[in-house]
Amino acid sequence: MIIQEKMKVVRQTEIAEHIFELTLAGKLVGEISSPGQFVHVRVSETQEPLLRRPISIASIDKTLSQMTIIYRAEGRGTKLLSSKLAEETVNVLGPLGNGFPVKETSEGETAVLIGGGIGVPPLYELSKQLKAKGVKCIHVLGFQTDAVCFYEEEFNRLGDTYVVTVDGSRGTQGFVTDVMAGLETDFATYYSCGPMPMLKAVQNAYSDKKGFLSFEQRMGCGIGACFACVCHTTNNTEHDYVKVCSDGPVFPAGVVSI
């Protein structure tokens, strides 16, 4: 069930340049059903900034009723969010959307998880759940530059992790596809989240594989009512569409026209 809750800030840390890790506590956590779901966050109680910000859930701890989100404080709203201190509350609507299907990879199989920039966070909870189930995870994480890399160690603990930076300041130089080219190919599934060009490149590179992609769109309501976040599907009828917020954000590869 989707709920709206003033969640309590447990802690907030800047884990890389302008990248914040925010842990929130509340009963909303009990409602999260799959990795890759997101929350819609009100960054201020004032009417400016007005709209909620969609942020993926990066990890959950159901026993503590805590979840962590990781975001880049870039625009007005996320900058305000980054000033929240422990004990303050944040108005959160969620969990929203449909996440990555963990069940699509079986115990003993291998999954490749490919993330780009602020698309990396939801893959962390996904990897934890896949690993817990006995799936071998390989992570390919692309960033702009060393200063904005995060969670390399955390992912390392869960499986082989390749970091790629555009400027070569950490890991391999280039794009995620450059590393993907050298990976073993006998994996069962891939999961990916990141900017559109990356998703496109990944989908093309693995056109013969079962894959799941998480999309972004500017949102109004976040729950399927306003038609802000639609994408055309590959179904070539002009009127066929999906909503990223409520049908997605994760779709099987090939569904969304990219």
């Binding site: 400016e48 709209l51 309501c221 802000a228």
Partner: protein, 304 residues
Amino acid sequence: MSRLSVKLPGLELKNPIMPASGCFGFGKEYANFYDLSKLGAIMIKATTLETRFGNPTPRVAETASGMLNAIGLQNPGLQSVMENELPWLETFDVPIIANVAGTETADYVEVAKTISTAPNVQALELNISCPNVKCGGITFGTDPVQARDLTAAVKKVSNVPVYVKLSPNVTDIKEIAKAVEEGGADGLTMINTLIGMRLDHKTGRPIIANGTGGLSGPAVKPVAIRMVYEVSQTVGIPIIGMGGIADTDDVIDFLSAGASAVAVGTANFVDPFVCPNIIEELPAKLDDLGIGQLSELIGRSHRL
């Protein structure tokens, strides 16, 4: 009769609060949050004759205390609304106001004729003010003669009272209001969105793929209040007011300005519970103001 109830042409509202068209879909999503029967009415998403995909994305952009949208009237089309959306809404005890849109008079007439026969549709809202479609829409809303003629044409075929939704993007909204009253409108709904634009600071290009979008939210409330205040003193038909309503005080303001009921749009995105919360708070607010029946507030700003 409850102290919150309002009687308008075709509508017996339990309370004056309804979600605005386009901000509530066909109700399904909000039904997960609360019982839709609590609402005074529901203004459903604009319905056109044919299925519409609408404009390319991005379709929304935030602005200071507001937002721009250029959805472009995406909707499943008349047939699907009649077969799927409206019957589902019949499970709730709530009157539906069907927002009717089109490109030319014939479309409007056809949609109005059919949709006004649905058992739960108790009024039409004629959308002559959508700024986000290339033809039709707002062109009807900025020319008094076209506005009057379209209203008359739709009135002729509609089974239920017709409210006309006015555009604020005009030099003199009173003139358009009088024209649609002349055309036979049973009521007015106002305001639709102001035309606006936001650019990307980096590229300099419009953020909304369509270029311009419609501005809504608290930012536009002063313009909406001014227009309701002016129009309510100019015409004899009732007004459903909207534009920036986010809390109970805002509702009081619109009623004071001369609206008989109100619609809440953008605020649903900020707080999905905004409508039932306002409905719950209203009685205490009336007590604070020393007002018995809600209707006593209507047009209070004009007096003295």
